[in-house]
């Protein structure tokens, strides 16, 4: 189970910004959790904190049986949780100098020494990328790039997959396909935390829903939370985005 307790994180710009304020959240294996909230509410900060890319100021993160307590001593090395937890970023960040094959197998080579080709073939066939193996990221459409980024993460068989707004540039057809992919990944036992603005998608695939605003989790519950919100904040948010 990927779980965080009372995470706090603040930034100092012209004034102090509390990006995360007492945030607790759980991602269960084999379950899709959805994180919704207005822009700038701290969703990406939470994803980065959960992935231990940006360490929180306070709180605790548990990755199965490993606990990370914060503040973390700056000179101390921590047990790396990657690729058990992995992230697909909003801007995808495919490595521009590598082909689709290079992007996917570079990650694989660090995770396994045998059977790389078989695993690669299995995933590119499953995600319909066979014809794109030798293309570079800038020769792909946004939908294709997004699938490559997902495959790059999935071939590593992560236990927890954090998806940060990857739907923002997709059309309906791609979104439907992505939803099917996510259900399949979930059924294989991967825990997914999906950050999205697409409430329809969240309703369809989310088993746990978290609504975040101003660095706090305001409401959490099952998918029904999005149909019958309990808090005024979520109600207002849905009235704006769920059209």
């Amino acid at each position: 189970m990927l779980r965080c307790y009372n995470l706090r994180k603040s930034y100092q710009s012209t004034e102090r910004i509390d990006a995360l304020n007492d945030v607790s959240l759980t991602v269960n294996p084999g379950e899709i959790s959805v994180l919704v909230g207005p822009s700038g509410c701290g969703k990406s900060t939470l994803i980065r904190s959960l992935a231990l890319l940006d360490l929180p100021d306070e709180g605790k993160i548990e990755v199965d049986n490993i606990s990370y307590n914060f503040p973390f001593p700056p000179d101390k090395e921590f047990i790396k949780p990657w690729p058990k937890i992995t992230v697909v970023f909003q801007q995808l960040f495919l490595w521009p100098h590598l082909t689709v094959r290079g992007n996917i197998t570079l990650a694989l080579k660090t995770a396994m020494s045998n059977g790389i080709e078989n695993r690669y073939e299995e995933y590119i066939t499953r995600f319909g990328l066979n014809d794109l193996s030798n293309r570079y990221p800038n020769q792909l459409s946004i939908g294709q790039r997004q699938r490559v980024a997902i495959v790059r993460a999935l071939v590593l068989k992560p236990k927890y997959l954090l998806l940060d707004e990857i739907t923002s540039a997709l059309d309906v057809q791609h979104i439907n396909r992505l939803m099917e992919d996510m259900k399949e990944i979930r059924n294989e036992g991967t825990g997914i935390l999906l950050v999205t603005h697409l409430i329809g998608m969240a309703k369809q695939i989310g088993q746990q829903v978290y609504f975040m605003d101003q660095g706090r989790i305001i409401e959490q519950g099952g998918a029904e939370s999005l149909r019958q919100p309990k808090t005024e904040g979520l109600r207002k948010f849905l009235s704006i985005v769920d059209v």
């Binding site: 992935a51 890319l53 992230v87 970023f89 995808l92 521009p96 570079l106 660090t110 995770a111 800038n138």
Partner: protein
């Protein structure tokens, strides 16, 4: 006397001049690229201790024309210090210094502009820090800077002509000397222009090709 006849008659002088130009260039290129790259990397890593002094030196140097720097190192400085240094060494020192800071600037800027997220995307895939540097950062940065570095080196090759003004017997000075003997400026300087075209054009073409081939759009639009 035709161009062919002039070149044939003075072939030894021209070859020696060309050799001097190539020797000068090799020193400027080799030291400039190696030291400049190291300075650029150090400058991006230790921004205050190395980066700022290096930027300052580069800023000051950019305000001094190469010719003035060359003359200043050759005449006033040596006269102030009471030493006489071989003009070839003075030219090599001046042009190498310029090259070092130009290369350092290019490398440092590319490293500072490198999108951190490419490394973070590798990190979450479980790729080791060493592999992130070797397989992601260096190849991407190299592709970004290669074209620019090549253009700088072509400019440095052209700047070696200034060495003739402090009595270095490089190709331009030889051409001037031959011209003073046979007085055929059109033929001699046209031949010299062709020689530089033959060397510089392929390098410029290679630079454009590298830019087109390797400079990928980071934004992935």
């Amino acid at each position: 006397m035709s161009v062919i006849e002039i070149i044939s008659k003075y072939r030894v002088e021209f070859l020696l001049g060309l050799l001097t130009t190539l020797k000068l260039c090799s020193i400027i290129w080799l030291i400039g690229i190696i030291v400049g790259a190291l300075l650029g990397i150090a400058g991006s890593k230790w921004k205050k201790a190395v980066g700022m002094p290096s930027r300052l030196a580069s800023f000051v140097l950019s305000g001094v024309p190469i010719l003035v720097l060359l003359f200043w190192l050759h005449y006033p400085l040596q006269s102030m210090l009471g030493v006489v240094i071989d003009p070839f060494l003075t030219a090599a020192l001046a042009l190498t210094t310029v090259n070092v800071f130009l290369v350092a600037d290019t490398i440092r800027n590319a490293m500072l502009d490198f999108p951190l997220q490419f490394s973070q995307a590798a990190k979450v895939c479980g790729i080791s820090g060493r592999d992130i540097v070797l397989r992601i950062q260096i190849p991407i940065i190299l592709r970004q800077v290669l074209s620019g570095l090549l253009l700088i080196q072509v400019n440095m090759l052209q700047a070696t002509l200034f060495a003739s003004l402090i009595s270095v017997d490089e190709i331009f000075r030889i051409a001037q000397r031959v011209n003073s003997e046979v007085y055929r400026p059109v033929e001699i300087y046209t031949a010299l222009a062709f020689l530089f075209l033959i060397v510089c054009l392929p390098l410029n073409g290679l630079s454009l090709w590298l830019k087109a081939k390797y400079t990928r759009d980071f934004s992935e639009k």
